[in-house]
């Protein structure tokens, strides 16, 4: 990302690693036989576990019945997709996916940037490292542990916040079962878990700033805020732009494990997303074709979004994800 961000993709230099081929195709294949052997286990994995399941996508065009099997089940064309688009639930899932992403974009996305700016301003190395160690830690916990901790901090009966409220005579707040709080809760959890970790990429970009630029700014009488605005922020702007565009490309994704863990019957109307629906219908209820159809819809829209995002990033002259 760093080395490439000044090279517009249109004028990329020719690939220097391209070595002229020795002999014919067969000779080159033979020459690489050990290399193929090394690639084989991984390649088999990709074929079997990533590409073979794609045949399963055909099930979305059938009324698949596991007892009748693939040949015995009836083809129904796009009927499942028609049903899906006519189902009010579909629009609820679409709204939930959109809202969770939008709230995340507005409230979570800027936080690692702000936190990185704050950490970067710490002048005592030891204090900086100490705080970094603390804010990175939640990233390594599983969603099960994070959800469990949320439960002990926020639940209506045993959450410590509500214990405190109850002891001081207030009314307890049902953070976990009130639909009005759900999107905020999900975003707050992501923030707690990932904001610290998200600073790393920005801190690295900040570390690359030439100190003489700060000195020049000080000579010009710039305050600390002005230094941040005119020196630090421009240095991380490319990183911000790339992450923002890629984030937009992932708008179909929601933290699936997280939502599954935080979901309960009381918040279902705001928590149901495509993945949870595919899981409930396709796996728990055995309505395989519907589960596959929902997953395929999500996958295809996600594919289009990420391809657009990647193209935009490349057009801006940065290196994309592929």
């Amino acid at each position: 990302m760093k080395s490439a961000n000044t090279v517009p993709s249109a004028v990329k230099p020719p690939n220097p690693t391209k070595v002229p081929a020795h002999g014919g195709l067969w000779a080159r294949v033979k020459q690489h036989k050990t290399i193929y052997l090394l690639i084989l286990p991984g390649l088999l994995f990709f074929i079997l576990f990533k590409f073979v399941p794609m045949w399963g996508l055909l099930l979305s065009l059938m009324d698949f019945n596991p007892y009748l099997g693939f040949s015995g089940s009836e083809w129904v064309g796009f009927a499942h997709f028609q049903d899906l688009f006519n189902d009010p639930k579909f629009y609820i899932m679409l709204r939930n996916t959109f809202m969770i992403n939008l709230i995340g974009l507005v409230f979570h996305f800027p936080v690692p940037i702000l936190l990185a700016l704050m950490l970067n301003e710490i002048r005592h190395e030891a204090f900086k490292r100490f705080n970094q160690s603390i804010v990175y830690l939640p990233h390594f916990l599983s969603w099960v542990v994070v959800a469990s901790m949320t439960f002990f901090v926020l639940s209506a009966d045993i959450g410590i916040v509500n214990k405190l409220i109850a002891e001081s005579g207030g009314n307890t707040i049902s953070f976990l079962s009130n639909p009005n709080y759900f999107w905020g809760l999900i975003t707050a959890q992501v923030m707690w878990k990932e904001a610290g970790w998200g600073t790393i990429i920005f801190l690295a970009a900040m570390a690359g700033v030439d100190p003489s630029r700060y000195e020049a700014a000080v000579v010009d009488g710039a305050s600390r805020f002005r230094q941040i605005w005119h020196v630090t922020l421009p240095a991380i702007r490319p990183t911000i732009v790339i992450l923002l565009v890629l984030r937009l490309g992932n708008m179909m994704d929601t933290g699936f494990e997280q939502i599954l863990l935080m979901m309960n019957p009381l918040v279902m109307s705001v928590a149901e997303v495509f993945d949870t629906y595919a899981y409930t219908f396709g796996i728990l209820n055995g309505q395989i074709s519907i589960g596959v159809a929902v997953g395929l819809f999500k996958g295809l829209v996600g594919l289009v979004l990420i391809v657009i995002a990647n193209t935009v990033v490349k057009r801006m002259g940065y290196e994309g994800i592929y």
């Binding site: 294949v29 994995f45 901790m149 214990k163």
Partner: protein, 292 residues
Amino acid sequence: MSFVQKKGLTLFDWVNYILIALISLACIFPFFYVFSVSFTDPKTYVPLKFYLFPDSWSLESYRYILSTNSFLNALYSTLYITVFGTILNIVVSFTMAYGLTKRTMPGYKTIMGMVIFTLVFSAGIVPNYLLVKELGLLNSYWALIWTSLTNAWSLIVIKSFLDSLPGELEQAAKIDGASDMGVFLRIVIPLSKPAIATFTLFFAVMHWNTFFNALIYLSDSSKWTLQLFVKTLVIDGNSGAVAQAGSSDEAVVPQETIRMATIVLSMLPILLVYPFLQKHFAKGVMLGSVKG
């Protein structure tokens, strides 16, 4: 910024330091609270009372949870998947990533294209589940191991690491008559030790923390992993998960202290390797940011 260090702390610094300290406090508080309650003496614990520190300390909850078969079973499942899964992850990822550094190999573009395609599209939850089912892997630890043998992101990061190794050593070994396999085993692998260490930790944490795959592939409670055990015990509030152990003193130890002790135990290995994680992972993130 040594040039400003001469001055004392300004108001800007004070506000910044205090805000950061508060953020760190918010990050650490849930850990502190879970630890604190888990060490509370179950006999003096009052469920609805507000505690920050235990009235009296005790290891009773830990003693209890460590004596239940369901917890030990779950620990065994998780260890099994983590150990075998991580070993295979390392072998498959490094061999494949090394192969993918050979751009002149016929088929390179096709294989790389396949790997990258998986970054942007996946068949989805249900088709993956059906495949595992067809392969007869339901309720087998190997369902979790085979389905996460490697992944595109790791391959790309490892490949870019291997690309950065000096090519001269490889060429010199080739001139001395070493085979491709010899070069890989005697030159590339020793040079890759830091990356192997990083990815060992990465894959181990991934397996340790896996929840959803375990949920769909391991429905038999005797095969449950720690994450499923914790989820059932804490989030579903299902005391049956512990009661399965058939212990008679369940009434003596309140659920809350047991649950918190279980959470602490389930994240203990992560906390123990955290100093290494932090050091190596930060590097890995930067490596990954080059591509992906």
